[in-house]
Structure formats: C-alpha cells, structure tokens
Symmetry: C2
C-alpha cells in the first residue's frame, strides 16, 4: 500500500477555490483588534445603540409568538419567509407579497444578489467609498469594480454618464448604491440625482441594487423617495422596475435577530428563492415571527426613539468636531443614519494614525477598506450611533488632539 501522504496547511490551502482565494482577511478586523480595550472610546463600530433596544417588547413578542404558533415557531418554514411579514413589507410599497423575499440580514441579500447576477469579470458600479460588506459579498463572484464619481450630493450622475461613454470594455451590469445616509460617508443622494440615475440606468440597461438600511433614520431635512419608489411610480409595475430594493430591521429594531428583505421583479425573486434554498433553506422561523409581532406598535415608536437619539448624537459630535478638530480636517454632516466621514489633508495616513489615537483612548475606522480599488488613505469613518454624549465629548477631544499632533 502506498504511504499515506501528510495533510498540512499547504494541502488545505491548495484545495481552496479561486473564489475562496480572492477573499481576504479583513484588514479592518485586524486593525480594530487594538481598539477593543474597554477604556477605548470607539467610533469604529457600526453598532446600533444597545441601550435603546426595546427588550421588554421583544420578550413580550416572544411569549405571544410561542403562545400563538407553538411548535410551528420552532419548525422548518418556507424559503420565501413568514407570510404576514412579507405582506406587511409589500403593503408599504403597494406591491405583491410574492415580490418580497426575506433574508438572513441584508448581508445575505447582497450575497445572493451577487450570486445570481455576477459572472466573473462582470462590471459592477460602486460608490467610492462604499459599504465594505457589499464588497465582501460580491468579491467571491469575481466582478470588476468600476468606482463612480461622487461628491457631497452622492453619485455625480453627469460625470458617471461621461465616464461610461468613454468606458472601454464590458458594459456595467449592476450599480450598487446606498442613497440614504450612506455607509461610510453619511451622504444622501439628492432627488434630482435620483431621477438622473434612473434615466441613466434605464437607458444603459443597468440594474440598480439599492441598499437602504438607514432610510427610516432621518433626523433632519426632508425625506426623499427611494430609487425603487421613483421607478415604481414611473412604470406603475414592479415587473418593469430596474431597481432591486434591500432593507433590514437591524438598524430600526435590533440586528441580532437577522431579519431583512429584498423587493424586486419576479424573475429576480424566483432566482433568489432558488439561491436561498441552497444557502440556508430559510431565515430562522421564530425571529421572523417576533419581528412581525413588533411591527404595528413597537417599530414606529422605536424608529422615533432611535432617530431622535442619533440626531442628538450626530449634532453633538459635529459640535465637538467644530471645536476640537484642526481646520484642515473636513467632514460630512449627515441628515440621518449612523456615520460621518472625515477627510484629512492628503499627507495624512489614518491607518498609521490609529495606534496614536488608541494611545489617547479613542478609535475610528481608517477609510481605505471602503474603496473597491484602494485609495482614501487620508480618510476615516466615525460612528456616533452607539456612543453616549460624554463619550463623544471625551473621544472627539482626544481625536482632535491626535489630529493636531500630526497636522499642525
């Protein structure tokens, strides 16, 4: 008999698919390890404020679900999702429940959309910077990213049109955007730009993936219709709408139950169902039922609570930045959501700066990982959502001192 070969690290690594090899350990995760000391004030995470979670309501919802559904709450359930939850979501946009697919977090929506849409080498348009998690979801499907020109109103559609007119190679297939209070920049796409973006994508045959986890969390300014709503209004028929809408209960209720959804035309939904069968069969039954219980009363109240708190925290953070940041540091002023974006002079490097900030007991996320093709070494993301006013005061002063050391 032939000697048994030894299996070792190299053997295993040799088995990894090209897709698997393309996934990289998140540099951000490594960086953030140094920020996890309890006495460091962290503006790095993207966590909703846990002290605002409606825990008593959630417990009551669990009890009602168990009393009403009994074992069905713990049994396998349909891939499409809990029917009353799909119906509630559908009604808000006056679409059919069949056009709603429940997902295990928005992240699963992005993964499965990538899976059913992206061939290797397909061109995906992304904001620059964009949500790091979307890049992680799409990456295994080996797209080519084409970053879109953006300014303080979001995607610069006129510039994008020119870019695409001059674009050599494959025409873009998919455009990924977070129009409301974007992660990481906090920027909101203006109404005029939304209409322009629909014109451009319809004309060029591009499917928009609209990611809207924060849309309900506007604390100032006037609410804007989503791209999906605008497209639905134009066509009057979801089966002609070139926008796939993704949203989630993670930011307006709690993230730990992992309940999110996708709204789309039927051919997309049918493929998502097939993809989800292979991906996790279905989203946990009991948490879908619990979220459904919370919709009529708790959700609107909770949105109001979170919105007010985040508005105060953002305002406070900006006031502190105005006072303690050096003049050369620029930052966005979000109208909602959880994040703002700081741009330092080009000589600064926020990854290198992080240990110095941590030494002063404050942390942030360096900007580079949010850029599909790299860059943004002089940028950083700050989250105000889960920091108390005191932490914001102390943390922003400490960060201001850190920046001043380097910039002045």
């Amino acid at each position: 008999m032939i000697a048994t070969p030894v299996w070792n690290q190299a053997t295993f690594e040799g088995l990894i698919s090209r897709r698997g090899t393309s996934m990289k350990a998140s540099t951000i995760r490594e960086l953030l390890k140094i920020t996890q000391h309890p006495d460091v004030i962290s503006f790095a995470g993207g966590l909703p404020a846990p002290e605002l979670f409606p825990l008593a309501d959630i417990s009551a919802a669990f009890e009602r679900v168990m009393a009403h559904y009994g074992p069905a709450a713990m049994q396998y359930s349909t891939t499409e999702g809990h029917a009353p939850l799909r119906e509630w979501i559908a009604e808000r946009h006056s679409i059919a429940p069949q056009n709603v697919q429940i997902m295990t977090g928005s992240q699963q929506g992005l993964d499965l959309l990538g899976k059913i849409l992206i061939n290797e080498g397909d061109v995906v348009l992304v904001e620059s910077p964009t949500y790091l998690g979307a890049l992680q979801s799409f990456q295994p499907y080996l797209p080519q990213y084409l970053p879109m020109p953006t300014d303080d109103q979001g995607i610069d559609v006129m510039a994008l049109d020119k870019l695409l007119a001059n674009h050599k190679g494959k025409a873009p297939k998919v455009l990924y955007t977070i129009p409301n209070f974007q992660n990481p920049t906090g920027i909101t796409l203006s109404l005029e730009r939304r209409e322009q973006l629909l014109d451009l994508t319809l004309r060029r045959g591009i499917l928009i993936l609209e990611d809207d986890p924060y849309g309900q969390l506007r604390f100032t300014g006037k609410g804007l219709p989503s791209l999906f709503e605008l497209a639905l209004k134009r066509t009057g028929d979801i089966e002609k709408v070139n926008v796939v809408y993704c949203s989630s209960f993670s930011k307006v209720l709690v993230p730990g139950m992992r309940d999110a959804w996708v709204e789309a035309a039927t051919p997309i939904i049918l493929k998502l169902i097939q993809a989800k069968q292979g991906a996790d069969l279905h989203t946990p039954t009991v948490t879908q039922m619990m979220v459904t219980e919370l919709l009529p009363d708790v959700l609107p109240r909770q949105i109001e609570t979170v919105r007010r708190a985040y508005g105060q925290r953002a305002q406070h953070m900006i006031a502190q930045m105005k006072q303690f940041f050096p003049q050369s540091a620029q930052y966005t002023v979000p109208e909602g959501g959880m994040f703002l974006w700081v741009t330092l002079p080009r000589t600064a490097n926020t990854a290198e700066l992080l240990p110095r900030a941590v030494a002063r007991k404050v942390a942030y996320v360096p900007g580079t990982p949010f850029f599909a093709l790299g860059g943004g070494e002089h940028t950083m993301r700050l989250s105000y959502s889960s920091a108390t006013p005191e932490q914001i005061t102390t943390g922003i002063q400490a960060l201001g001192d850190t920046l001043r050391d380097v910039l002045e």
Copy 2:
C-alpha cells in the same frame, strides 16, 4: 434623449449569471404541492416531529438568555459564533474552539464549503442517491458530479477505488457523504468501510465533507465513530485531518432556530469565516444563546425522546410495509435517523405514481431528484419522523394498495 427601453421578464432573465441560470426550480417542490392537502398523510417531508419539541424549555431558555445577556442577545455578534457554544462543541471532540464555526443551518455550511472549495468543473464525489439540498448548495459553483457506487453498507469503497483508477479527466477534490442514516436512503456506512474511505481519500488527496445531522439519532445497533473521529484518532491533530465535519441542532433540538456548525482544520475555518462575513455576517445571536442554554440538561433528554419515538415509528412503518407492500417492493431498514428508501421494480415510475397515491391520501418523495445525474425513477423516500402510529398504519396501507395496483 434616447427613448427609455422597456424592462421586462426577458431583460431580467438576461442579467442572470451562468451560476444563477444553473439553479433550477426544485421539481420536488412542485410535485409536493399536490401533497399538501390536510387530509393527505405525508411521508414526503423531512420534518422533525413537532409534538416532541421541548417548547417549555425553549421558553425558559429565552428568559434566562434575556436576563443574563440583556441587549447583547439582540446585538450584532461575531462571525465565528457564540463562544460558549463553540466551546461546548469543541470539547466533545477534544479540539480547540477555534476549529469550530457556527453556521445558519447545516445548509449554510454546505453552501460556504462549496464556495471556498469548488472551482467550475471541479470533480465532487457524491453518493447516489444523496441529499438533494447538498446538490442545491454545490450547484451554483458548477462542479462536475461523480456518483459513487453504493450498496447496503453505504459507499462501496473498493468499487470506488477501481472507478477512480479508471477515471479520465480531473481528479476528484471533494467527497460528500452522510455516513449515518443517510438522507435519503437511511443506510449507515460500516466501520470497515469508514476506515477504507479514509485510506482512499488520504492516498488520493481528497477532502471529505462529512455531513452528520442524524448521528445522535441511532435507535438500534451499535454506534460508530464518525469519519472525523477516526481521522482525528489516526493523526492526533486536527490540522492533519482530511475530514470536514458538519452537524446541526435542527434534528436533535429544533430546526427553526437554524443553529449548526462545521469542525475543520484551521485553513478551512479561516476561509469559512471570510465567506460567512460576506454571506450573513453572523448567525442570529439570540438563537445561539438559547441553544447554548439547552445543552446541559435538555439536549441529552431530548435526544433520548426523539430517538425512542423515531425508533418506534420506523419499526412500525417497517412492520406495516412487510404486511401491506407487494413482495417486489424492496426497502432499507434504518438503524436511526428519519428516512427509509423504497426500490420498486425498474418498470415502475414513482413520479407518475404520486398522483395515484395522493388520490388514496398518502404522499412520498419520488427518488430521482436525489440523484446528481438523474435516474432512480423506480425509487422513493419515506420519512417516518413526523407521522403518528395511526398515520403510519393508514398511510402505509394506502401506499401498499397504490403499489399493488401497479405492480401486480
């Protein structure tokens, strides 16, 4: 301005990736729709018995989790999974918790293993028949399936060795197997075959994906070590073990919380973490904590309860089949799990037969979808797990009558 093109079904379908196009609507789902009348006795589903669910214990676990963890139970958590849950799983096999990855159902384990391992055209060895859900998970990664010869002791390893010696083209990379009470056949791989399979795969550089959702549910015969345990014993070091072990709490507790796991060497686990970040960030926090609460007392008791009930149901079903099935129908006699497998004479077609069975108010799953490359038109899967003794008596008689109509 150029006229806006109309988006319609063809536009959307034209955007679907090759991977997406390769996914097919499950014929089984369509077939099973006719079986869902409340007065049809269904042996078709693969559902655990809901009347055995430990609902009071689950409610108590939820209360304890909320009291102990508070908002942390509803917050984002780590991709790797709830630490105490990983520790408990690791301890059973005396491995490090770092070699355990929590999954949102075993189905996610299969999906992500496919994602990190399978390049288009890679050869995947599968039992024939095999678990339909595994085929659904792997399919989007576009493998070539190579069905393995099997008999009533599971994979025929000697025949497999010959098959591989004569195999032209790419060498197989991955071998997927359910050694205990296989889905769909109920067959268990013998100990001798397990050792042979390890020899063969080590020699040929093949990674085994061992799927073991039913292993704890043995109701007769002697328990066998898993392939993973055998390999671990041989090498004494998980970093040299060519078996990835997948299991789940779905069949021994409840499936609706979607808690499962993978045990593997570090290079595999590290890639799974990266893949899971992009797939759903993490498994729901609260359900992981609830399962952990149930481990010390409820789980062993529940395994005993389920094992005894399924043993009685299997025995009863087989007794009824002996009495009421025509002589020409052959069937497996499982030592555990939820399924048995019926083989009719080759002239029979179980898909065509299904409406006649449903007319007699009984249902099963036709065998063909379980074969990676088709075939098995004369086979069917029966599940006894969620049927009462009365339903088994009535249902098997009705099915016997249906078979007799055709076969005699």
